[in-house]
């Protein structure tokens, strides 16, 4: 069975996996990082979004072995101790969640957008969140949160 090594939230992690082990399962089951959620398992809902080498991807549609050697950031890697990341703070401030299941993926996707565009329009945000489904909020407050979070980040994560 293959051994994978990757940097996860700044720490060197490794594990023995099957070839078919998905990145999301490696994160959740092997590393105990259960903040990354599995919603649909069909690469549609975006609850599993993490960053691999700085780009947001769906970790249910990525093999752990594909991320061997990569730099991975999950939702657990955003906050600095008790201080929420600006995008997390914006989601709290603007009530960008209800049940919260989709939120880790929403935030990780939003941070990727903010890294590319520090002042996205409402249209830009809605387009970018095409691959992140929320069944509670109707997106209105999520969009507001992402715009505020992006401005708070000021072009950097």
């Amino acid at each position: 069975m293959p051994t994978v090594r990757m940097t996860v939230n700044g720490m060197e992690r490794s594990g023995t996996v099957e070839g078919r082990t998905l990145l999301v399962d490696f994160l959740r089951e092997h590393l105990g990082l259960t903040g990354t959620h599995v919603g649909c398992d069909t690469s549609q809902c975006g609850a599993c979004v993490v960053h691999v080498n700085g780009s947001s991807v769906k970790s249910c549609t990525c093999l752990a072995v594909q991320a061997d050697g990569a730099d991975v950031t999950t939702i657990e890697g955003l906050a600095n101790g008790a201080d929420l990341h600006p995008m997390q703070e914006a989601f709290r401030e603007h009530h960008g969640l209800q049940c919260g299941f989709c939120t880790p993926g929403m935030v990780m996707s939003a941070v990727d957008l903010a890294n590319r565009d520090s002042d996205p329009s409402e249209h830009d945000v809605r387009e970018w969140l095409e691959g992140n489904l929320c069944r509670c909020t109707g997106y209105h407050n999520i969009v507001k949160a992402v715009q505020a979070g992006a401005r708070a980040m000021g072009g950097g994560s």
Binding site: E18, G19, R20, S109, G131
Partner: protein, 265 residues
């Protein structure tokens, strides 16, 4: 998903050796098509050979009369490439409309073309622009490459290395997207390039991408939306599913063609 042996070669030769040495091997690029079908057990390879670490499959170059895109370039890289945006903006815009942001960050042009989903966007772009599919052993014209739903001219152990797009005078892509998947219910790329005016349709036919000869002739005479407006599209052979029936798809092809011509300016 069945388990498999994973290979991470760093050269084309090693990738070919791994593929040829496997009982039922397959290549993986970004995995955005392959992994979903493996989850459904529609594919159950014994060996998966990754192209991610293979040298020489990345990069986008402006060659003057053409733009060459490395097979492992992601849709996001194509969409964001200054060379593609500058020389073939319709191709950049098309790539920017594939799936969603995360799919575009992982999915590749080579993977999409090797898979040849009948509703994928790239087949229309390749055929309309008259692209050449470059592999480890030869060059294949787009007109010869696509051979029906999920079927291509690739041999079992052949690896796409790049795609070469001639720069057109003008081109545009119009897609009526499935609201859930963003795959094309009907997508039409119109290009006025070195090989003349070409109109290629994806998403609509069960046989995959096809050209609209009648529209091409009409646009060759007068490049205007009015020239294609009166050309009927037959529903024979059109896909019919929960997203759209065959008649509706045929109608959408005509509408998308008109929009694409208008977008050419």
């Amino acid at each position: 998903m069945n388990d498999f042996t994973y290979h991470a070669p760093t050269s084309l030769d090693d990738a070919l050796a791994a593929l040829r040495g496997a009982e039922g091997g397959t290549l993986i690029a970004g995995g955005q098509s392959l992994l979903p079908i493996m989850k459904l057990n529609l594919a159950a390879p014994t060996d998966v050979v990754s192209l991610a670490g293979v040298a020489g499959l990345d990069g986008i170059s402006d060659d003057g009369d053409s733009v060459t895109v490395g097979a492992m370039c992601t849709h996001a890289q194509v969409a964001g490439s200054a060379a593609v945006q500058g020389r073939i903006p319709a191709l950049a815009a098309m790539a920017d409309g594939i799936g969603d942001a995360q799919v575009r960050n992982a999915g590749t042009i080579g993977g999409s073309l090797a898979h040849n989903d009948p509703a994928a966007d790239y087949p229309a772009a390749c055929v309309a622009l008259g692209a050449t599919i470059v592999t480890d052993r030869r060059e294949i014209a787009s007109d010869d490459y696509f051979q029906g739903m999920f079927m291509t001219a690739l041999e079992d152990d052949e690896i796409i290395t790049a795609v070469r797009f001639p720069v057109p005078a003008r081109a545009a892509y119009a897609k009526f997207a499935n609201p859930a998947s963003k795959y094309a219910v009907a997508g039409v790329m119109v290009a006025d390039g070195p090989a003349g005016v070409r109109v290629a349709v994806t998403g609509a036919s069960g046989d995959g991408v096809f050209r609209m000869a009648g529209m091409e002739a009409a646009l060759g005479g007068s490049f205007s939306a009015e020239a294609v407006a009166g050309i009927g599209v037959s529903s024979d052979g059109m896909l019919s599913d929960t997203a759209a029936g065959a008649e509706y798809r045929a109608h959408l092809v005509a509408v998308m063609a008109k929009r694409a011509v208008e977008a050419c300016g």
